[in-house]
Amino acid sequence: MRIFRSQHLPLIGTVGVLLTLYITASVMYPGFFSLRVLANLFGDNAILGIAAVGMTFVILSGGIDLSVGSVLAFTTILIASLLEKGVSPLLAIPTALAIGSLFGAFMGFLIQRYELPPFLITLGGMFLARGMAFVVREASLGITSPFYASIQDLGIPLTDKARLPATAIIYLIVFAAGVLLTHHTRFGRNVFAVGGNEASARLMGLPVARTKVLIYTLSGFCAALAGVVSTFYMGSGNPAIGMGFELDVIAAVVIGGTLLSGGVGSQLGTLTGALIFGVIQTALVFDGRLNSWWLRIAVGLLLLVFILFQRTLSRTSLKPT
């Protein structure tokens, strides 16, 4: 059967882990297995998930983006400040998205044009965006806006007790767009090619330079969009949030089966990775006994297992049969 090729094993593994965790939690905690919890899984993890959609492109190409958490924070405080000054949300939000995209494009340009290491450039980007966030405003700022109130009330009712919140809806839309862009366009194929073997991609005449810049632009856009969703979720902007967020995003992408070396992965895998985060987190809340730091340990262990698994796979499956 076509699904069970060796190249699909990582994804199957990830989905397997997700299902195992979900089923275990459903058995252990009454009330876990419900539509409400499921809907909230998407809603609560929308921020992580949306940023991870963008990060998937970057990692697929063999790069990395450490600026995501800072761009997220910057976006939230920028929007909050603009709204406070009376700017309409319909102007503030697109502005924030545009700035995030341009920021990403700038980093992408530097990385591509001068062959600078993505790790260092996005590290600089992280510092820059974080500093600029605090320049906008030192402290967090609440958002009062009728627009926001209506968004927060928005949701698709699923049953009389559960509904799909606006954040989840946005996440699912972004995910769908991500899937289309990654797996059903020439651009997506070029991303895979650049990550798989950049030298070959160049020799084949693919637009490597343009692809690389676009990738970082997308990542910046998604980070900014995650910031927008964050403002919906929290009802405020805060320049201090998201410290270390980029690492959670990278972890979600890697657990989802995308190789950090590039060229292999999928948006579905990333979605699964983000949901794994969500399931563990929700389970910890339900449990009440275990504390939040177990999330860190669990994620770390999962990362280890997945990476070793990917390593053994890449040592065998890519070899000729």
């Binding site: 190249q7 194929r189 084949m204 292999v264 070899k319 049969t321």
Partner: protein, 505 residues
């Protein structure tokens, strides 16, 4: 049988020259390929084959000369350019993306789309069609990396043909293929020839050249040596053309290294060592105070044998005896403990530590064998470095110059010094005089003589037949990853060596 010729050749290259930083890689080279012909391009390392191909495919811009495609002059400026002109290339490393599917690889950059979205079924169909055109059946949805090298090569050809190629260049396509796979490839090539394509077949395998090519062009040291019809060219003449000996004048070289056969103790005895995919089974004996030469063409397995002996690719079969005692060499460090040394032929990736100074490069192996704690003092390092700089005439501004600033030849000498400093009992020299000027070559040959006189054993690998004759007491001849003969004493003459290489069983 080649297809009937058209009046104007498909490809005519004339007077092509290209230099890199003052070094002439190609000098007034010519090449003519007709439609419906398989044309072999041959020459040893450094002959200029890859530079010529890169000029044809737009990677390098030639300094002089012209390229005419069906009479029209062309100047390809990038690989994509060349592709659009109808020149397609399949490289030795199969420059595709192993993590993507076969179908994706064939159609990368030209996938069928509708409103910006890929039409996946059409994509798979197109790939399958491209493969069936050359008679290959493959599941186009599997990842390219899961296919064998032979299959990957065929995929690369399918991709190259997908763009209406008129001229197909195959750069060392058979290096990783077994006999059956080579035959499959050849059938594809014959079919393409019948369809009227021109094929350039770059290779160093003599048997294959004679099996498939119509005509042969030989390059040597960046110059054009000759163009021949395959059926009218005896093997010997071909090898001489490649190695640089005029067929008419094979003088008997004075065998300066000839000595009476003295029974010497055996330093290294290897029986049946081999490594799958790297080198076939081989037996070797090396005596104390002897220079054993390994002769053979590119790809015959000389460097691989050396790497087996030095523990870089440890052998999987057979056994080794060092000074009479059983030994197993599983890593360079173990080899060094047995007082072996190894000067690699690929100094860039396997020898030179670019940012470190000449001094540090020279003392590195010696220091490594002493361990980290017994550090050579600054004075000792300086003395050693200066000694070898003088002894080998290494041209460097100072001992502290980063080695990457030295010319290739001087880098090679510094690497040689690295191993001589460890005072090995057996030193393996793989092409030690490649890229060195004539004067320096003579110095190194003299050095090898004196090392031998002091009792050191030398395994000497070289493509320069005359050099082998001048320095070695015994010569093992390799061909296609096997030992095919051994010469000793007065038998060591250029024409004998060339005969053994060419010998067709």
């Amino acid at each position: 049988m080649p297809a009937p010729q058209s009046p104007e050749p498909l490809l005519r290259i004339e007077g092509l020259s290209k230099s890199f930083r003052g070094v002439k890689a190609l000098s007034e080279v010519q090449l003519t390929v007709r439609a419906g012909e398989i044309h072999a391009l041959m020459g040893e390392n450094g002959a200029g084959k890859s530079t010529l191909i890169k000029a044809l495919t737009g990677v390098h811009a030639p300094d002089a000369g012209e390229i005419r495609l069906l009479g029209r002059q062309v100047r390809p400026e990038s690989p994509r350019d060349a592709e659009n002109l109808g020149i397609s290339t399949v490289y030795q490393e199969v420059n595709l993306v192993p993590t993507m599917s076969v179908a994706d690889n064939i159609c990368l950059g030209r996938q069928p789309t509708r409103f910006g979205f890929l039409r996946k079924r059409a994509l798979r169909d197109r790939a399958a069609k491209a493969l069936s055109r050359i008679g290959v059946q493959l599941d186009v949805s599997r990842s390219l990396g899961s296919c064998s090298m032979a299959e990957q090569q065929l995929v690369a050809i399918a991709r190259a043909l997908d763009v209406q190629a008129k001229l197909l260049i195959l750069d060392e396509p058979t290096s990783s293929l077994d006999e059956r796979e080579v035959e499959t490839l050849f059938n594809v090539m014959r079919q393409l020839r019948a369809e009227g394509l021109g094929l350039i077949f770059v290779t160093h395998f003599l048997d294959q050249v004679y099996a498939i090519s119509d005509r042969i062009t030989v390059l040597r040291n960046g110059t054009f040596v000759g163009e021949y019809v395959a059926t009218e060219l005896p093997r010997l003449k071909l090898i001489n053309a490649m190695l640089g000996r005029e067929f008419a004048e094979m003088e008997k070289l004075e065998h300066t290294a000839a000595e009476a056969e003295v029974k010497r103790e055996v330093v290294l005895e290897a029986r049946g060592i081999s490594k799958a995919g790297v080198m076939g089974e081989i037996d070797l004996d090396i005596h104390k105070g002897e220079v054993l030469g390994l002769a053979g063409l590119l790809g015959s397995g000389r460097s691989e044998t050396a790497k087996m002996l030095f523990g870089i690719h440890p052998s999987e079969t057979g056994h080794l005896k060092i000074n009479g005692a059983e030994a197993s060499i599983r890593s360079p460090r173990v080899a060094m403990r047995h007082k072996f040394g190894f000067c690699s032929e690929d100094r860039k990736t396997e020898g030179v530590i670019p940012h470190l100074s000449v001094r540090e490069n020279i003392i590195l192996a010696m220091q490594a064998s002493r361990g980290p704690l017994r550090q050579l003092s600054a004075k000792e390092q300086q003395t050693i470095a200066e000694h070898y700089i003088r002894a080998l005439n290494i041209k460097t501004a100072s001992t502290e110059t980063p080695i990457m600033n030295l010319s290739g030849g001087n880098q090679q000498k510094a690497l040689l010094a690295r191993w001589l400093a460890t005072q090995p009992k057996l030193i393996i020299l793989d092409e030690p005089t490649r890229g060195i000027d004539v004067g320096a070559k003579a110095e190194i040959e003299k050095l090898i003589h004196s090392l031998r006189a002091d009792g050191m054993s030398v395994l000497f690998i070289s493509s320069d037949v005359e050099e082998i004759v001048r320095t070695c007491q015994r010569v093992a001849v390799l061909r296609d990853r096997k030992k095919v003969g051994e010469l000793r004493g007065s038998e060591i003459q250029p024409e004998n060596i060339v005969h053994v290489i060419a010998h067709h069983d």
